[in-house]
Symmetry: C2
Subunit: 665 residues, 2 copies
């Protein structure tokens, strides 16, 4: 009632009587008008019969606040099962149990069980798996000078879960940004799809907690071992365009900027300040966040010179000096915002010695409001700057106490800008694949085990991934014959499960270019091996087509239990798990995501060439990632596919899967 | 005057007259009493003559606030040189110019040029290269509920610099923590020495800005290229026990915790909360910060069961449920603090629904004050929790709005605790070294160039670092003879500057164990090489003693212009710069630092063995790092020393420098 809800509210309690001057009905069945929503504040054991009554009364939406369900153990879980069944049978959508309800500050309606005051009216929606945090967020937001549009506490999610809430909450015209406090996600692929729908229109920020609880999956391949739950969440958030915050504070710092500013069209920032030190701090954080200080053009520099004293710095940061006037702030900001090389701006001021911070704020507000570029403000201090802070909050300009946080806000505006530009992409799919071949191999494979190497080769080749096959020769003569068949040059490797460091004992020879050398080499390898490890069982020599040397990377794919196919790329070799230079994306894969996987790993960046290594065939690597992603997306029973190493030859020379492991489940 | 300074203050101005009821002298020479400090608020061009008068008057300490010196260009720099000369000739210590002065809230004395109000009296000292930030810090600290003991703005540091201020500021009995806003350091080694002296007694926190300005050094070796200025600062701060903050906010978050709490004796944290969600957030951040949730013992769990309702979680975090009473907070906190497995604690509460946050604060304060373990509090919200916040601030208990920041505060208390335990260590020095041999090689070397390999080998061997030497054989017979001399087994490698991927073309053979095989192998290598690259110039074959396979790492050392010798360790090979898996420390090296270099790199961690690789000889690696550090500490002209790779054999089998580069400057 206190929220000012304009519709009719009825009270129901078995005891009857009156409350706040209105009748209290003894049962929902007695309530006269149509009822759209029932908010239940009753003990757990009363919920089932009351829910049944609601169902009979035709109520289709219910909030159950009470705890005492699944979260308390098996008995509570049984109770929860019961109310789920009742809700389903009456087509009731149920929020909770064990939640604090929901509110809408614009309708307005407050159906939470929190004591007043409710939140300030605003444009940030908050959807939370944690009920306890809601009261704190409402209170903290009030103090930070921003309001909420809607707040939803999800509780046990017996029915309605975080994914169900996304589109309804985001489609509220009063909501500019949706923030999510997530402990888990019920249906990964549906979340991605719904979240994607939201982020095409409005920013969605998630704080995913419980990172360290999830730990690492038990898995036999590197790909599996590295694909912890967090990688899957990151990949899913990337696909869905969700911005992932690291801390609660960061989430709401970002929310204000995204709610009140246009996205940045690029990464070039102008910094205007009356203080050198904080300017340097801002520059540090901007660079760390992937932004850069804009380079001003001639015109901008001349215009700045005209309005500023000679000792001022007209570089970037623009240092107005301690003596700066409010007009110098506003004029410098206007000039730099007009520079086409500037995409966003930050104004920083500690309490100015000669003027009030409030006067500076008042001077810059009209400039900020008349620009289409985002501007954030760092007003440094606390009590001396309150007036400035109030001015800025009143007109929805994001202000922060420190340049570091203002810089982070600009970074998220730039990320949102990037997202808007890449939003229409679809995954890359090839038509020259043979899913039926893979299907046959899967059906013939033993569950849970890695399949024999030749079968694994069949799977990859069916999706157009080139593999290198090994052939066993039992003696030098046979080796020479095999080599003739495969085509020169070839490599020889001693075939023995007992010898691990084959090249160390002279068990490997490369680039043999005719039958004689192969025969002679094979002889030598067998002799060396027998000499080095007389007790080893030696099957003969493996003959392979020689692959030119090149960079070696790992590429793999797994099925994530929540999000389905995930594809991996990174630094391979035996050390892949230690280096953790890997990136994951959802399958199938879009070109932007594939590009990001390369850009975010050293393994990917070095494909462009490094030191005396020539550029490698990056395009072929991208193609393999698309094909791998398509493979696991098409075949959910392929639990793990790993190519380690994938040899990457020089530009236009392709790639070759050297070692391959595939497991079916 | 407004600060309440108890001593005598005299005014001096050429115009004379009276000010605040006191006479204004026309010159410092007219002032009657002895003068200990002169604070000059006069234009730049008046500073020199006034300083001279001060010198004649016997003043030995002067603050020059005026700008218009070095920061404005060559003319200003000349003026600054002049005042330095005057100050020196009269034995005057000078703060500034271009600074806002200094203050001491306990004396009290405010010799800054800032408008009132000055800072609240407190126990955090702030020394700053940026003057502009001082007003903001004073104001912000007031709002955050902590006070300052001293504040020093260093300005242009014509005389007094950040290092000069460290010990005097820290020795103030009212100062519990020193915070530093640093843009650079004038004399690196002296800074380390003075800062170390401070941190043995009191915590010292530094925010070093200008990271991205410094960029990377131009250098020919990997070690040099990687040893950017930031690595040098990190190494110096580690040696000095300085805690390096990433942001201004973090610096003061830490400062409050360090000023008001004892250091933590270990990493096990108890978390007490009435809210599950924030408890999970806290656990995430604690783990990310290198702390862990304590495991409670039987007794603790039983005691918790007695005071809490059955639905409460007596694990860690202890979840008291939303219904928690202030007494349940205080009793749970008391019980967990008494558990010997708990080193520190965090109490988290959003506004509790049934009680006021203030009541919770009041209940826990006596428990916190009677424990010797540090406790920090996250009170979540803003207006509903003001009373709680005021209570906690009044009795110097660090409080934060979010569990993430409270967790970071506990982490710094644990780091301070670690530091106190390792503070007495000295660098490891070997006596079996031959500095005179190195000295001779240095004198014979060309400046700026890498020295010939055999000279580099001499340098390393003189400091007890085992190297592997290569010998050139021009033909198979000579190879066999050389091999006999070196001792079997040997490795052969084609000697040709024109062939880069030697093993790819069959130009390498390993582990040859008798003269016949060597002769035969040499023959084969030469043939293969000629066949593969007919145009290559081939000098013959290099014969080396065979080194067993093993892990390969990089170890190096350089001279940093600010901090002197720096030693490096990390993942080597050709990819060292891309992987950036490296750590740096100051030379000479202490055992703790050496251990840290291994612990903080994958190259170091994997020495313990990984996948099917056996444990490697970690002790020998540590010894090499000590010896390398000693080498560059003894010989400042050794600009770069790099071992890449350093082959690390299995346990007790030692290490071997395979490839070595040394440069003199």
């Amino acid at each position: 009632m206190g929220s000012g809800y304009p519709g009719v509210i009825h009270f129901v309690n078995v005891k009857g009587g009156t409350l706040l001057g209105k009748p209290v009905y003894r049962s929902i069945l007695e309530v006269p008008n149509p009822v759209e929503l029932a908010a239940m504040l009753i003990p757990a054991d009363q919920v089932a019969p009351t829910l049944k009554a609601c169902g009979q009364r035709g109520v289709r939406a219910v909030i159950v606040g009470a705890g005492g369900f699944r979260e308390t153990g098996p008995e509570g879980a049984a109770l929860e099962e019961e109310i789920i069944k009742i809700a389903k049978s009456y087509n009731i959508r149920l929020l909770g149990p064990n939640c604090i309800g929901l509110l809408d500050t614009h309708l307005p309606m407050d159906a939470t069980f929190l004591p007043p005051p409710g939140p300030t009216i605003g444009d940030v929606a908050f959807v939370s798996h944690s009920g306890a945090i809601c009261a704190a967020v409402i209170d903290w937001a009030r103090g930070q000078g921003f309001g909420l549009s809607r707040l939803v506490s999800l509780g046990n999610q017996a029915d309605v879960n975080e994914t169900d809430m996304l589109v309804p909450v985001a489609s509220d015209p009063h909501t500019n940004v949706v923030t999510l406090y997530l402990e888990s996600i019920s249906d990964g692929r549906r979340f991605v799809e719904q979240a994607r729908q939201v982020t095409m229109e409005k920013p969605l920020i998630a704080l995913k907690v419980g990172r360290f609880e999830s730990g690492q999956r038990a898995a036999a391949s590197h790909t599996g071992a590295l694909a912890g739950e967090e990688h899957a969440f990151d990949a899913a958030f990337t696909r869905a365009g969700v911005l992932r915050a690291e801390t609660s504070e960061e989430m709401f710092d970002w929310a204000r900027a995204l709610a009140w500013c246009p996205p940045a069209k690029g990464k070039n920032v102008a910094v205007i300040t009356n203080a050198g030190g904080p300017g340097v701090t801002a520059a540090d954080t901007l660079e760390a966040e992937g932004l850069r200080l804009a380079e001003f053009n001639e015109e901008t520099r001349n215009a700045l010179k005209e309005v500023l004293p000679p000792a001022a710095s007209i570089g970037n940061p623009v240092d107005l000096l301690a003596s700066a006037t409010p007009t110098q702030f506003s004029e410098s900001l206007k000039i730099t915002l007009e520079d086409p090389g500037v995409d966003s701006a930050m104004v920083i001021f500690p309490p100015p010695p000669m003027f009030t911070a409030g006067a500076v704020a008042k001077a810059i507000i009209p400039i900020i409001h008349s620009s289409e570029k985002p501007v954030v403000v760092a007003v440094m201090g606390e009590r001396l700057i309150q007036e400035a802070v109030e001015h800025l909050r009143a007109v929805h300009i994001p202000e922060y106490r420190f340049p570091e946080r203002a810089a982070a806000a600009l970074a998220v505006l730039s990320r949102r800008g990037d997202l808007m530009q890449s939003s229409q992409e679809t995954p890359r799919i090839f038509t020259d694949v043979q899913p039926e071949v893979v299907q046959r191999v899967i059906e013939d494979s033993k569950n849970g085990e890695f399949m024999p190497t030749d079968k694994a080769h069949d799977v990859l080749e069916a999706y157009g991934i080139p593999v290198i096959r090994m052939h066993l020769a039992e003696n030098p003569k046979q080796a020479a014959e095999l080599a003739e068949k495969i085509g020169f040059p070839v490599a020889l490797k001693v075939a023995s499960a007992d010898i691990s460091h084959k090249s160390d004992i002279g068990g490997v020879m490369l680039n043999l270019s005719d039958a004689d050398t192969v025969q002679q080499g094979c002889q030598m390898i067998l002799e060396q091996a027998r000499k080095a490890q007389p007790e080893a069982r030696i099957d003969g020599v493996h003959v392979q087509r020689m692959v030119h040397s090149g960079q070696e990377v790992i590429a793999g794919a797994i099925q994530d239990p929540q999000f389905g196919g995930l594809v991996m790329f990174g630094s391979g070799g035996v050390e892949v798990e230690g280096l953790k230079d890997v990136a994951f994306s959802l399958a199938p894969l879009t070109p932007t995501e594939a590009g990001q996987m390369l850009a975010s790993t050293w393994a990917g960046r070095k494909l462009a060439g490094f030191r005396n290594h020539p550029p490698a065939d990056k395009d072929s690597v991208l193609e393999i990632l698309f094909r791998l992603a398509q493979l696991v997306a098409d075949h959910p029973r392929l639990a793990e596919v790993e190519i380690n190493p994938l040899r990457v030859l020089e530009e236009d020379e392709g790639v070759m899967a050297i070692d391959v492991r595939v497991r079916v489940e």
